[in-house]
Symmetry: C2
Subunit: 364 residues, 2 copies
């Protein structure tokens, strides 16, 4: 589905500098502002436009209104050598997430495996950022988060779960890593938004309307309907996407004491507040495994190379060039965008210009 | 899809006793035979018929032919406090799996989280068995395995991955646990088999034919076609099911040194051997997390109760009674079967009678 709306292109350095300075202007300590800009830039670089500077306006509003704490003191509230629960002190997920991910990685480095559940935090950017950090330390990382409820459980007619992504990554030696970063809904919410903007209909299996009926009309989903879980319907395994979203919800929220399911607090200001609180903020979960706790890392990477080459040689389905390796599309987007810059939709550019004007931080 | 073929009903005790005695007859030590029977019985009890005594004939043949080692000495070949790789010595997965799962649980009890990858093993029954064991110890368990390749990666026209299941479970206090046990393919292979037996067509999204085209004909899948991953097609997130199957494949096989992807050895005797070996046997992966490494276990369970009750109250989609909680269908099957026994298809009963006759072990 090609998008034909107008865009303006910025270099990744421009966007990173603007983002970092904006967060600092809003009271975020310098080092944290750089970290937050790193996470958002990773999304724009990798082509996951919905999670990059397109979200900066919301962070800006939330920080301006005091809804997010610019100077959080995240702390470990309970731990064992291989586990921890972290209270994110209502900080930016872009700061609390990397901090908690480092705790998981340090625990893995100490005892082989480390798992951390985080409450009292906010949206943490792309799940994939965290597992790419783990790769740098010869660790297999896992990253999950809950988010504002948009997805109906199979046989339900209400928004009860977030798009609750799961990410993990495996390093190759000569081949690039396998990088998995996927929402547990049938499609990302961004695809529904694109269909709405283009006045296009959606395939059956993406969403239901407010009554719980299948719909191809993006407005029917947006106006009180819900997205469907991966698998879409009972015949094609929609209960499995619901199971995966449930797993993410429990590991991120019930385990940490965050708000699970339909009670996840909204990210955007215009969304309604849930009817009750069952914990603090939203939740993340990070895991890390030391590869050398299982096998010689070079042997592991050689096998990943073999895996990747074997799967690239798969007989292609008609009309395709054959299977991609998980992470291919994002890596290809990154190569293009490092060279040519990041094309931003005009509404996103207008938001950036508004913030530039209000703060005096130059965008260009 | 109701199945109308003839069945004969046996009590779970009958089946457990027969299975245990049969394994012992084949040279499996008494305690291991009991363990193996426990795992198979769990499948029959929970209504996952394809993984219970329906598979006994294959284990019988494999043991008789010396393809599976009846007296394995599984050993830890590498470990850290929170990790281990286990070589299953080509034993029954029904014996090696529980042994390795205990290692993961003991490591979690020691340091909070324990992860174990297993090579040189065979089919281990239902993934859910292992996470139910973890529940008994106030642990959150994870269980995964690869299996004979049946599933095409998205945009592929060949069998490259197993149905690679993922299981996990979360305990409630007053409510029953949430139990997730799901193949990462759109549907279980058993559903294709049922369609074939009933001469019924399958929904689009389950399978492709040998050329890689969508098919509704179960024979076209069985005769050289492939199953599709969860999500089915590019529009509905088929790459995500492929990603999940990849994750399971790497954690179970690349991490342990087992045969990954299309090189998983066949379980049934009639299947062709893969073109090369890239490791030993098939692979499993077990994880365990101590709940009290994160949160007070009673508080966790109270929140799970609240989660379960909240999701049961979801507004139902039209024509349904509303969402199920993961694990509901299996628990309901177990309640019925404990009371009324396990209905076995006649071909399964005939296999049992043949083995009874050959060994002199009474079935009834």
């Amino acid at each position: 589905m090609e998008d034909t709306v107008a865009t303006q292109t910025f270099s990744t350095e421009q966007l990173h500098t603007f983002t970092q300075r904006l967060f600092a202007h809003l009271g975020v300590p310098e080092e944290d502002a750089r970290q937050a800009a790193d996470v958002l830039s990773a999304a724009d670089l990798r082509g996951i436009d919905s999670h990059g500077v397109a979200r900066l306006r919301t962070y800006y509003d939330m920080l301006n209104l005091g809804r997010i704490n610019p100077r959080p003191q995240p702390r470990i509230v309970r731990e064992l050598p291989g586990t921890a629960t972290i209270d994110g002190d209502n900080g930016l997920g872009l700061v609390v997430g990397p901090w908690a991910n480092r705790v998981a990685m340090e625990k893995a480095e100490a005892v082989g495996s480390g798992w951390v559940s985080v409450c009292n935090t906010n949206h943490y950017g792309i799940a994939g950022y965290y597992v790419l950090e783990a790769l740098k330390r010869d660790l297999i990382g896992f990253s999950m988060t809950n988010s504002t409820s948009l997805v109906a459980p199979l046989r339900g007619a209400a928004r009860m779960l977030g798009t609750n992504p799961i990410a993990t990554a495996f390093p190759g030696l000569e081949e690039p890593p396998i990088v998995i970063d996927m929402a547990t809904s049938a499609v990302a919410y961004g695809k529904v938004e694109i269909a709405r903007r283009k006045q296009a209909s959606m395939p059956i299996g993406w969403a239901i309307d407010a009554e719980g009926n299948d719909t191809t009309d993006p407005h029917a989903m947006i106006d009180g309907g819900a997205q469907l879980p991966l698998g879409s319907d009972a015949e094609r395994g929609g209960h499995k996407g619901y199971c995966l979203a449930t797993m993410v919800d429990v590991l991120c929220c019930v385990l940490s004491g965050a708000n699970w399911g339909p009670f996840a607090p909204p990210f955007a200001l215009r969304q309604v507040e849930p009817e009750r609180q069952v914990g603090k903020g939203i939740g993340h979960c990070f895991g890390a495994l030391r590869i050398d706790g299982f096998i010689d890392p070079d042997e592991f990477k050689r096998q990943i190379d073999d895996w990747v080459r074997t799967f690239r040689r798969t007989k292609p389905a008609p009309g395709t060039d054959g299977p991609l390796i998980p992470g291919d599309p994002e890596r290809e987007a990154e190569a293009v965008r490092r060279r040519e810059g990041v094309p931003l939709l005009m509404p996103v550019v207008e938001d950036l210009r508004m913030m530039s004007k209000e703060t005096g931080i130059p965008l260009d």
